[in-house]
Amino acid sequence: MNLESVKTLYLAEMARSLRTVLQSIVSPVLSTSLYFVVFGAAIGSRISEVDGVSYGAFIVPGLIMLMLLTQSVSNASFGIFFPRFSGTIYEVLSAPISYWEVVVGYVGAAASKSLILGVIALITARLFVPYSIEHPLMMVLFLLLTAVTFSLLGFIIGIWAEGFERLQLVPLLVITPLTFLGGTFYSIDMLPPFWQAVTLANPVVYLVSGFRWSFYGISDVSPLVSLAMILLFLGAAIALVAWIFRTGYRLKS
């Protein structure tokens, strides 16, 4: 592996976040804090416990997952879209670096940023609600796998997008609705049976459920099923990226 090239791409992407620190770090942390204030402290105080966990603490994993998914997708998609848009992608394509090294550089940086934000959000949440982490190693594993998987998805979107509108299309119209309907703010046991069945078709349910299990040991679906689903998404994303590079889709004519 060309480590120097990968390191250069990785650090350049991380430096871009520092140049736009308000947009990259402050903004998502602020919006997540608002969720905790509104749903956790204000509304949550009037809602009884869910599966033996206070409502404020119950939504912590879901909110962190919400931020992780949206940030992973937006960071990675913008990271590869911007050089395509500005034309500077020529430099990456003409460098002695393999496609997978390019992916490690861009996706690694996007996932790192999401993880950093996830940790900041966890610390921020502690200011509003008390929570515990029963399975810390599994929590880190879920966090890591989700950040990498959705950063890969963002990378794919950044290559697919031909303009800024398309760049926003998937995060706004797909990721956010799926996350809100994926059990972030409720347990799917609270839904009527029909909607429980429908909800199980939502992939985010498995991510939120597995992540919540690592906190409180409670879940809507088995944590092993959640882990298997994340690995399935990861495999699908890797296969799609491999196809993009094999065909040169939107990168090489």
């Binding site: 060309n2 120097e4 090239s5 390191k7 250069t8 791409l9 650090l11 350049a12 430096a15 140049r19 911007f82 050089p83 500005s86 034309g87 500077t88 020529y90 430099e91 990456v92 394509l93 003409s94 460098a95 002695p96 670096i97 393999s98 040169g248 090489k252 004519s253």
Partner: protein
């Protein structure tokens, strides 16, 4: 240094941008690829640099296949694109340092300083790209291409859109690079630029490399014109008294072609006056004259 063998590129829509190109670039030379817009110049260098997939044929860079051994091949190449592409918010120093790292070279501030100074960019090293003029941005692109110490430098229309003074500066930079041992391939519309800079010139038109010549030989051809003398009655051979003019009998004896150096001027001997005088002699063949277009005519304008 670079060998292109049977290279062809047909785009998805069926457009054939390159047609069976064979070309060899020698180590240490300046090679100018000359041709009009859409001729295939940029496509050719894009294929060599790995930006465009070839449809057929192959490219060897210092003996390395640029697809199968892309690391070795690309490490030797620096590319200055035609468009002024850059990250507007990055500083000059960071941008050049990024390019060096991207090509797998460890940080070397002394080398980057040398490159920036040689391109008169040292004072601008802390400026963001967005604050630079077009000419300065083009210099930064050259600095980025040189950051990893390439043996081969591609310059895609390096003087497009730059003023005369800056063009002279660019030419000087290119000369200095050649003197340091870098092989340079540049594309241009301008015959003058090719004449000023290149050791050899390749002419590309509609995706075909129509000729590759040493500059001197090509310039001689560019300076030559043909005078065609159409004959009413055909000849079987060039008359004896006209044999000293180097005439060629064509069109099955109906035309005599006289080739002369247009640069020689009217007074010092294009030889036309002498030829006409000899033609006026006894039993001269009946004739009309046509000043034919030269195969490669020099022009002060672009293609």
């Amino acid at each position: 240094m670079i060998r292109v063998e049977g290279l062809g590129k047909t785009f998805a829509g069926g457009f054939e941008a390159l047609c069976d190109i064979d070309l060899e670039i020698r180590r240490g030379e300046i090679f100018a690829l000359l041709g009009p817009n859409g001729a295939g110049k940029t496509t050719l260098i894009s294929v060599i640099c790995g930006l465009v997939n070839p449809s057929r044929g192959r490219v060897l860079v210092d003996g390395y296949d640029n697809v199968r051994q892309f690391r070795e091949a690309r490490a030797r190449i620096g590319l200055v694109p035609q468009e002024l592409t850059n990250d507007a918010f990055i500083k000059v120093w960071d941008s050049v340092r990024f390019s060096r790292g991207l090509f797998g070279k460890p940080p070397d501030p002394a080398h980057i300083e040398k490159v920036l100074r040689s391109l008169s960019l040292w004072e601008k090293r802390n400026n963001r790209m967005i604050t630079l003029s077009g000419g300065m941005k083009r210099r930064v692109l050259i600095a980025k291409a040189l950051a990893h110490e390439p043996e081969i430098l591609f310059l895609d229309e390096p003087t497009a859109g730059v003023d005369v003074a800056l063009r002279r500066d660019m030419w000087e930079v290119v000369r200095q690079l050649r003197n340091s041992g870098v092989t340079i391939i540049l594309t241009t519309h301008y015959i003058e630029e090719a004449e000023e800079m290149a050791d050899r010139i390749g002419v590309i038109r509609s995706g075909e490399l129509v000729l590759v010549e040493d500059k001197q030989a090509l310039m001689q051809k560019l300076g030559r014109k043909e005078l065609t003398i159409h004959l009413r009655d055909p000849l079987h051979a060039v008359p004896q008294r006209l044999s000293g003019h180097g005439l060629t009998l064509t069109e099955e004896g109906h035309a005599l072609v006289y080739t002369y150096d247009a640069e020689a001027g009217e007074d010092d001997g294009t030889g036309i006056a002498e030829l006409l005088a000899d033609l006026e002699g006894p039993a001269s063949p009946s004739r009309t004259c046509t000043l034919a277009r030269a195969p490669w005519r020099r022009s002060s304008s672009a293609w």
